[in-house]
């Protein structure tokens, strides 16, 4: 080697080459192996399009279609793909919006408080719920706007103008929904209330994915791997409601101009035939873009239409409660069918009688004539059985708890937790603790809570519970949890009252007499024996509420009903005719007393107007 003292430097140079190559391999390992080990990387040549499933259809019990799907269009934007020369003005023109609205919308999208899902990489919903004619122009010139895509999906539409409370509606999911269930993405729809919400999982189906190839200029080149990796959307399950939509129509018509509710149940199955609350709204106003506007309007309406009076309003059951009182006392042998109590009419103490009839009174007469003293005496005897009835009596408290358990076995004073009806209020059959807090542990006795004997005072139940209680009597001692899904028979959800069937026959007899001789005698259905009981719920804020419970036919009950008309006074005047008309329509398929029907549907309980003054 001549002239070379630096041959060792070959190792330095080789070392540099090795170092560089190793460093790059480490970088590549990090990029291609470590970074990709978590989650999927598809790059931007493959776009994953969500395929939205058709939501399940909703039918009534007679297979008439109530709720179906209707296509709408959404304009989607991926900010990162929009080119710098995006022609905003032309875009606005095609969508028929102004530049100001465009800017506002972009600003809203960027606001992570309003839109926590904001990202420049993912599609954002620029405009939603557009009709075909709204996007037709844009569709034609879509190729000019890189990063913009039109997505179609479906919203709900309704074949009926009724059952708004039952059906509910769908709306865009909020951030809480997304956090709770990662099925949802921003901009998805889900059932917000009613059946749509309760059966969301069944109705929504399963989203699919379509993998499309597109080139660097955004042009779709077809399915990735010929669609091998596509996942088709699974349509939601259709569902059938227990509701009879025609009956529901009749019920809502009868409640027109009134505040109140009607609940009809098929006693043998617990199926809810009709569930009407008034005032209500037409479900068709909750379609698409109108929903939020309509919803706000309803929310601020003074008559509170969003409040489902059939399941959320609680009332004292009034005299309708006497049927329960009779059954509980009979079962405990506090009274027998022949037990008689004296009635002094309006002069009776401590509770006066509001009806004029003979004295003394037997059970059947007591029910027929809705004799207050009779049921006060029976209740007092029940509570004081085996004790002296003093305030110090521990036994009296025990008796009260016993009584309360019996009453609640009728489904009163608590929510039906196994039911699909939402929302529900529980109501209140006051507990021992409730009175202990109110009067002190030794501060109350039978006389203190005398109002309970005739269904007034602290006792509160919902119309749904009243209807269910009626079904229990119609069934002769048990009820099946009231429900709305016809496919779920709920046969296993039988709730026994534990009261002897004999006594039910007796009470039914009494209820039949109500409709022939008693407070309900003015209304009837030809050839059908009706059992019923009127009631008047005392209302400290205004006129009393008119209540009626009943079922028909007497010997083979097909329908049990509860009607509450607020501020309408006596049960007999409003609730009875409404209930008989509903039952008649259900049993016969038509209404014979058309004049009565006419009168009931057109007249309004004017109290609402009076209250406003």
């Amino acid at each position: 080697m001549i002239n070379d003292n630096f041959y060792k430097r070959q190792y330095v140079i080789s070392g540099m080459a090795i170092f560089i190559v190793v460093a790059y391999i480490v970088l590549l390992f990090n990029m291609q192996v470590i970074e990709t080990s978590s989650g999927s990387v598809d790059g931007n040549a493959i776009i994953k399009q969500t395929v939205y499933p058709a939501r399940g259809l909703i039918y009534d019990r007679n297979d008439s279609l109530l709720v179906y799907n209707q296509p709408i269009y959404e304009v989607m934007m991926t900010m990162n793909e929009m080119s710098k020369d995006f022609d905003t003005l032309a875009f606005c023109h095609l969508l028929r919006i102004d530049k100001q609205m465009f800017d506002q919308r972009i600003e809203d999208l960027r606001d992570t408080r309003k839109n926590p899902g904001w990202s420049t990489w993912t599609q954002q919903v620029f405009m939603s719920q557009l009709k075909k004619e709204d996007i037709a122009q844009l569709q034609e010139e879509l190729y000019k706007f890189r990063g913009v895509e039109i997505r179609n999906r479906t919203i709900r539409n309704y074949n009926c103008n009724e059952a708004a409370h039952i059906l509910g509606s769908i709306g865009e999911v909020n951030w809480d929904d997304i956090k709770a269930d990662d099925y949802y993405k921003m901009g998805d729809y889900s059932g917000r209330d009613g059946i749509e919400r309760t059966y969301e999982r069944e109705l929504r189906g399963e989203k699919g994915v379509r993998k499309l190839l597109r080139d660097s200029r955004g042009r779709i080149k077809g399915h990735y791997k010929n669609g091998e990796e596509d996942i088709p959307a699974k349509a939601g399950n259709d569902m059938q409601l227990t509701i009879d939509i025609r009956l529901q129509q009749i019920a809502e018509q009868l409640l027109h101009g009134k505040i109140g509710s009607i609940v009809a149940i098929e006693p043998s199955t617990g199926e809810v035939l009709a569930l009407a609350s008034a005032p209500t709204w037409n479900p068709q106003i909750m379609i698409g873009k109108e929903r939020s506007k309509s919803y706000l309007k309803l929310l601020h309406d003074k008559s509170r239409p969003l409040f489902n009076r059939a399941t959320q309003a609680t009332y004292p059951p009034g005299s309708t409660f006497k049927t329960i009182q009779a059954l509980v006392c009979l079962d405990d042998h506090v009274i027998t069918p022949n037990t008689q109590y004296a009635c002094s009419g309006p002069a009776s103490q401590p509770i006066k009688c509001t009806h004029s009839h003979g004295s003394p009174v037997t059970l059947l007469n007591g029910i027929e004539q809705s004799c207050n003293p009779y049921f006060w005496n029976a209740f007092r005897d029940y509570l004081q059985k085996g004790n002296n009835g003093s305030k110090n009596s521990k036994e009296l408290h025990e008796r009260y708890n016993q009584w309360r358990d019996h009453v609640m076995a009728f489904g009163l004073g608590h929510r039906f937790d196994d039911s699909d009806i939402t929302p529900q209020k529980g109501g209140n059959i006051p507990s021992e603790d409730f009175y202990n807090r109110m009067y002190g542990e030794r501060g109350w006795k039978a006389l203190t809570i005398k109002s309970l004997s005739i269904g007034q005072g602290e006792i509160l139940v919902t119309p749904l519970q009243m209807a269910n209680q009626t079904a229990t009597i119609a069934n002769g001692g048990y009820y099946i949890t009231p429900h709305l899904n016809r496919h779920d028979s709920m046969k296993t959800h039988i709730h026994q009252t534990g009261i002897d069937r004999r006594y039910f026959d007796l009470v039914r007899e009494g209820m039949a007499r109500v409709m022939t001789n008693g407070t309900g005698r003015r209304y009837s259905i030809t050839d059908v024996e009706i059992c019923g009981k009127t009631g008047t719920a005392q209302n400290s804020h205004g006129r009393d509420h008119s209540i009626f419970i009943g079922f028909a036919p007497k010997d083979d009950p097909k329908i049990a009903i509860a009607v509450v008309v607020e501020n309408a006074g006596y049960g007999a005047t409003w609730a009875v005719p409404i209930a008989t008309l509903v039952m008649e329509y259900y049993l016969k398929g038509e209404i014979e007393h058309t004049d009565l029907f006419q009168r009931m549907t057109t007249s309004s309980t004017t109290t609402l107007n009076a209250k406003k003054d």
């Binding site: 080697m1 002239n3 003292n5 190559v21 790059y24 990029m31 291609q32 990387v41 790059g43 190839l213």
Partner: protein, 485 residues
């Protein structure tokens, strides 16, 4: 006839095998990158892949001719070839530009040459010839002036006249050749230090440190310099207590500052700067009684580096205009710009990432097929390798390349003739620099500098240029082996 058999025996067939391997896999990827999803056809001479096949045939022919020619002509014609290419470089200006760059000589719309690709070759020959003379010795920096001029002329023409910064940058490869031939290693180190300090100081100049005040950029630069200083202190005073006094007081100063920082926020930038300056002054002063000029050099290096770092910072933040600053910010990855300069790198990164471990397979790379990476058949060909062949492919190509370059260094080292050895090192260095800059660019760790990946990037000029570069070395090597026997 006898000479011919000898030649076949003396050729380094390993290198030719590596060369063919790289070319074939390169073609496979060009085919992948230019494959048309709409009109799939494998061999069609109107497509990019088809044209490259023709270029490859030409390259083999060229290689064969080079091997058959007498080895002496490369030595004797070196200066002439060098001058001829300079002329070619200059006349490119009179041909129509391609994509804004005046670096082509067009014969027809589909056939044109890029003389810059051949300038590397002729410059390597010229430098080898000059430095290979018997009377050339690398004694001081003055001996470097002429070689620097030889490489400087074509580099300047390419950079200024043709506006091809990337191609000009390749001429930096000759620094490695100079180093091998005796240039001080400190020059290389200083060059690397200057780049490292610049990147650190500028890139992290706005990143605050977690305790006290100060920036990650300046602090890390100062700590780097401090470490250098301490290293020399420890080495110089191996057997003396002095080293403990110095390191102890540096540690103590930092301890006190940390303590003060509990009540008053301390600016660790300035504290570190002061310590580095003090240490540098100590090192220079220590020379007075230690009589070690290295210490003075180190001390001066530290002081100059402090000035350089702060200067870079100041110029970046206060002197540069906005567009100049943003250009640097993009290059250093301080800012995302998916639409602008960062677009290529971003798309290349996505493509490579989606390749994962095994790759998607030939013609299966969706990013590649859908043409997301601009220039994917030329400068960004490595992204196709990454997507279609995965980590196995990218690591494989890099390892293959490493073996190839190490083989070239080995060949260069075994040359007895100075001309051949210097030329061999030039070849190895040029390949190494191309590999480093091209892959670094695709991976996003180096700025976007448009130079090809040898044998992979589509292009006849570059393929022919690299082939000639390589085969001349093989011819010289064979001649050397011939003389041995």
């Amino acid at each position: 006839m006898q000479r011919r058999t000898k030649l076949i025996n003396n050729i380094d067939w390993w290198t030719i095998l590596l060369y063919l391997g790289l070319c074939i896999f390169g073609w496979v990827n060009i085919s992948g990158a230019s494959y048309s999803y709409d009109h799939p056809s494998l061999i069609d001479f109107s497509t990019v892949a088809g044209k490259q096949l023709i270029w490859m045939g030409g390259a083999l022919l060229l290689g064969g001719i080079i091997l058959l020619l007498d080895h002496k002509i490369y030595d004797t014609t070196a200066y002439f070839a060098y001058a001829a290419v300079l002329v070619l470089l200059i006349i490119t200006r009179f041909f129509p530009p391609v994509k804004g760059s005046y670096s082509w000589i067009s014969f027809s719309s589909s056939f044109r040459l890029q003389p810059a690709e051949f300038a590397k070759l002729t410059t390597a020959l010229a430098i080898a010839k000059y430095m290979g003379q018997y009377d050339f010795k690398m004694r001081s920096w003055r001996d470097l002036i002429k070689p620097l001029i030889i490489l400087g002329i074509p580099a300047m023409i390419i950079m200024v006249w043709e506006n091809e910064t990337g191609s000009a940058l390749v001429f930096a490869a000759f620094m490695l050749v100079f180093y091998r031939q005796g240039m001080s290693g400190y020059v290389l180190l200083c060059g690397i230090a200057a780049i490292a300090l610049f990147i650190l100081a500028v890139k992290y100049s706005d990143v605050p440190i977690p305790i006290g005040t100060g920036t990650v950029g300046m602090l890390s630069c100062m700590l780097l310099l401090l470490a250098t200083g301490i290293f020399f202190v420890l080495q110089e005073n191996r057997y003396r207590m002095e080293k403990w006094i110095i390191t102890g007081s540096v540690a103590g100063l930092y301890g006190i500052c940390l303590l003060i920082n509990i009540w008053v926020p301390v600016n660790f930038n300035w504290v570190s700067l002061a310590i580095v300056v003090l240490l540098a002054i100590y090192l220079i002063a220590a020379n007075l009684y230690k009589r070690n000029p290295v210490l003075v050099m180190v001390g001066l290096f530290m002081l100059l580096s402090v000035a350089y770092t702060n200067g870079c910072n100041y110029i970046f933040h206060h002197v540069l205009r906005d567009h100049q600053r943003s250009r640097i910010e993009l290059i250093l990855g301080m800012r995302d710009d998916p639409h602008g300069v960062g677009y290529n790198v971003n798309q290349a990164r996505i493509a490579i990432t989606t390749g994962r471990f095994w790759g998607k397979g030939w013609h299966q790379g969706t990013q590649t097929q859908m043409k997301f990476v601009p220039e994917q058949a030329t400068d960004f060909i490595f992204s196709t390798v990454g997507e279609e062949w995965g980590f196995v492919g990218t690591a494989g190509v890099l390892v293959f390349y490493l073996i190839f370059i190490l083989r070239l260094i080995h060949i260069a080292e075994r040359q007895k003739d100075n001309f051949a050895r210097i030329y061999g090192y030039s070849v190895a260095s040029i390949f190494l620099l191309h590999l480093t800059i091209n892959i670094g660019m695709v991976l996003g760790v180096l700025p976007v500098i448009g130079i090809p990946l040898p044998f992979f990037s589509y292009g006849g000029s570059s393929l022919w240029g690299f082939t000639m570069l390589l085969f001349i070395l093989l011819r010289l090597d064979a001649a050397g082996a011939e003389q041995m026997r």
